[in-house]
């Protein structure tokens, strides 16, 4: 499976959400990282044929996806960021309906729904109405619907948003399990999720992919080091003004800072290993700091 994105652009009025994006993806898990407004959701909507590009094209194994029409959507699974459902439907009915929409024969639909209910841990909730489910259960029902047609391309937009830590871990594992033999594109601004499950990471900014590679390649691409500094509380604001601070940990006798800097920020600063959160902050700067508060 190969998705080739050529010169993909989407403009809304005068605003360019996706800007001449070029990318090739093959089977594997791709983590799409970017701050809010980077164009992630617009890009994903174009991948799912929900939006028509202003310019450029997306080719699936060499064929333009809009020309493929239903043939392309047949191999596509999508979990949108704002996953809506039919509140009066039970989980089972919901899955059977989406299965029908995906063109599964009733017998196959019933079998797949049963399998996925089992796999996503929704067996006890299968007869419950969707409106009665917890946030985590709804997301699990969301991933189940995306997997109904056993898609070759799975697009997940912020799949772990709003989940508690347990649910997030469970969900991450589920995605890893489902990721075999298919192309998974996972958008999030929860960096740790990407770090755990993505083979390839795409950093998106201003509608473009500014960097792509494995986590280690991205870390190596940083031209500055990551330093651990222990400072007094009254020194913190000065460090914050001068450097990019990826973490603050308050101790009883001071504050431990994680600072990204080209040269040693303080005499007793210790050079430490960089991680993906540092990369995120390094490339996205102050904005990333705001977003990453959720991490």
């Amino acid at each position: 499976m190969e998705l080739r994105i050529n010169n993909l652009t989407k403009e809304f009025g005068g605003f360019t959400a996706v800007d001449h994006l070029n990318l090739t993806m093959e089977n594997g898990v791709y983590g799409l990282l970017g701050v809010n407004g980077a164009g992630k959701t617009t890009f994903m909507k174009m991948l799912c044929t929900l939006l028509t590009p202003t310019e450029g094209e997306i080719r699936c194994n060499g064929r333009e996806i809009r020309e493929m029409d239903g043939e392309y959507r047949k191999i596509l699974g999508y979990l949108p960021q704002d996953f809506g459902f039919y509140p009066e439907f039970s989980v089972q009915d919901y899955l059977l309906y989406i299965a029908a929409l995906k063109g599964l024969r009733p017998v196959v639909a019933k079998r797949r729904a049963r399998e996925l209910i089992e796999k996503t841990g929704l067996r006890k909730a299968a007869k419950k109405k969707m409106r009665a489910l917890s946030g985590g259960m709804k997301r699990r029902a969301g991933i189940a619907q995306a997997m109904l047609n056993n898609p070759k391309i799975l697009v997940l937009d912020e799949p772990t948003a709003g989940l508690d830590p347990n649910e997030r871990i469970r969900f991450r594992n589920l995605i890893s399990e489902l990721a075999e033999e298919r192309l998974v594109l996972l958008s999030t601004h929860i960096v740790s999720d990407v770090e755990y499950i993505a083979n390839q990471i795409l950093l998106m900014k201003g509608g473009r992919i500014v960097l792509e590679g494995e986590a280690s390649e991205l870390i190596d691409s940083m031209e500055e080091g990551v330093w651990s500094v222990f400072a007094r509380k009254n020194e913190v604001s000065a460090f914050m003004k001068k450097y990019k601070v990826s973490n603050l940990k308050t101790e009883h006798d001071g504050v431990e800072l994680r600072i990204i800097a080209g040269k040693r920020p303080a005499r007793d600063a210790v050079l430490v290993d960089a991680n993906l959160e540092d990369v995120f902050l390094y490339y996205f700067g102050e904005k990333a700091g705001e977003e990453n508060a959720a991490v």
Partner: protein
């Protein structure tokens, strides 16, 4: 997929309530319509509805048969005898209620639309009453002189009146009259269109409102069969609920009052004496019901189309109400009347407007208004289905 679309509609408590409300209104409306049929007993007390039907049928069927000149003369004589035998007008009515329909033929048929006189039959001579059928045409010609009829309208009316076959065959048909000539049927049709509008309001907009649009449109059939199922669901809901309501109303009224008289001409009801359409009660029922169905399809498809475009259920709820009620009031403004008579709401009121002989000229030829409205709005309704389909399947989700 159609099953799931219908399930989406039916699973909402509000929609279940709306259908229940319609059921209650239909049942109440049918009882009220039947209740208007009364029989007065010798002691002056009255019974109505199902209790009156049997007695009235017996009394009226004494006059069953062709109403020839001799029969008309006999009506006048019997009417006179009833008055002679009774001390009061009410007492006389109790005696002549079996011939009350035929008495009304004479009252309205001899006087014309504007000069109706309830007591005319009491004073008319038997020979004058015998000229009732001739009077029908002469009254029409008098109307031509007084009102601004065009040449084409006159042609249509004269042709239709010429096709009228006298003498009329009379019999008991109070069940059909209660169904077709009461005010309940048009009201029921307006209520039905508003309630069905409520039911179908979410068919095309719910995905957007619930945020389920992305999953819907990214699915294999999300831009073809899924959309087709929505169109089918609208069609099915409008068709099933409308016909169920109308058949239930008709069935209950006829069940209470009797279905006899379906083959009688509508002119046997004095309200329709001057009507230009030479059809039976059964044919009028079919015309009224089919016209109402076309109005439901057209108005509701339009509402659904707007709701699909606006991605909101509000339009689908308000448009049926506005289109079925507003033209009725605007039509009272004299210079708007002619135009308002062409709105689809007219199809909801065929049972009452049929007798108004509304004629419009197209290409130098006069046509009854319903001969124009029914095919035009049926065509529009049918055209709206592919428009709904094509518009919705191209939805962009920004």
């Amino acid at each position: 997929m159609l099953r799931f679309e219908l399930k989406k509609i039916w699973s909402k408590r509000m929609n279940q309530g709306a259908v229940l409300l319609l059921l209650v209104i239909v049942i109440a409306g049918s009882f009220l319509a039947a209740r208007d049929v009364k029989y007065y007993k010798e002691d002056g007390s009255s019974v109505s509805g199902i209790f009156a039907a049997g007695r009235l049928r017996r009394e009226k069927n004494k006059w069953k048969g062709y109403v020839t000149e001799d029969v008309l003369k006999k009506v006048v004589e019997e009417n006179k005898r009833a008055h002679d035998e009774a001390d009061t007008a009410d007492g006389a009515f109790i005696k002549y209620q079996g011939l009350s329909d035929l008495r009304e033929w004479i009252n309205s048929g001899m006087a014309g639309r504007e000069n109706y006189d309830y007591y005319l039959c009491d004073s008319i001579s038997t020979d004058t009453a015998a000229t009732l059928y001739e009077k029908r045409v002469s009254l029409l010609k008098e109307e031509f002189a007084g009102q601004g009829y065009s040449k084409e309208e006159k042609e249509v009316l004269l042709r239709r009146y010429g096709e009228f076959e006298a003498p009329l065959y009379y019999g008991y048909a109070d069940g059909w009259k209660a169904v077709l000539d009461s005010q309940y049927l048009p009201t029921l049709m307006i209520i039905s269109i508003v309630i069905i509008g409520f039911l179908v309001s979410g068919v095309f907009s719910c995905e957007f409102q619930l945020g389920a649009d992305s999953v819907f449109f990214s699915a294999n059939y999300g831009r073809n069969r899924g959309v087709l199922a929505k169109v089918e669901a609208c069609f099915a809901v409008v068709t099933v609920i409308y016909w169920a309501a109308m058949l239930l109303f008709t069935g209950l009224v006829l069940g209470m009052l009797g279905a006899q008289g379906a083959g009688l001409m509508i002119q046997t009801d004095s309200l329709n004496w001057m009507c230009m359409y030479n059809i039976t009660f059964a044919e009028k029922w079919l015309l009224t019901m089919f016209g109402g169905y076309v109005a439901h399809l057209c108005i509701l498809f339009f509402a659904v189309l707007v709701s699909a475009k606006s991605r909101s259920a509000v339009a689908a709820v308000t448009i049926p109400f506005a289109l079925s009620c507003a033209p009725m009031f605007l039509g009272r403004v004299p210079f708007l009347t002619k135009a308002m008579n062409l709105f689809p709401d007219m199809l909801l009121r065929i049972s009452t407007f049929l007798r108004d002989n509304l004629i419009y000229t197209i290409g130098g030829k006069g046509h009854g208004v319903y001969e124009i409205l029914i095919p035009v709005y049926l065509l529009l309704a049918l055209l709206m289905m592919p428009v709904m389909y094509a518009g919705y399947r191209r939805s962009e989700l920004g």
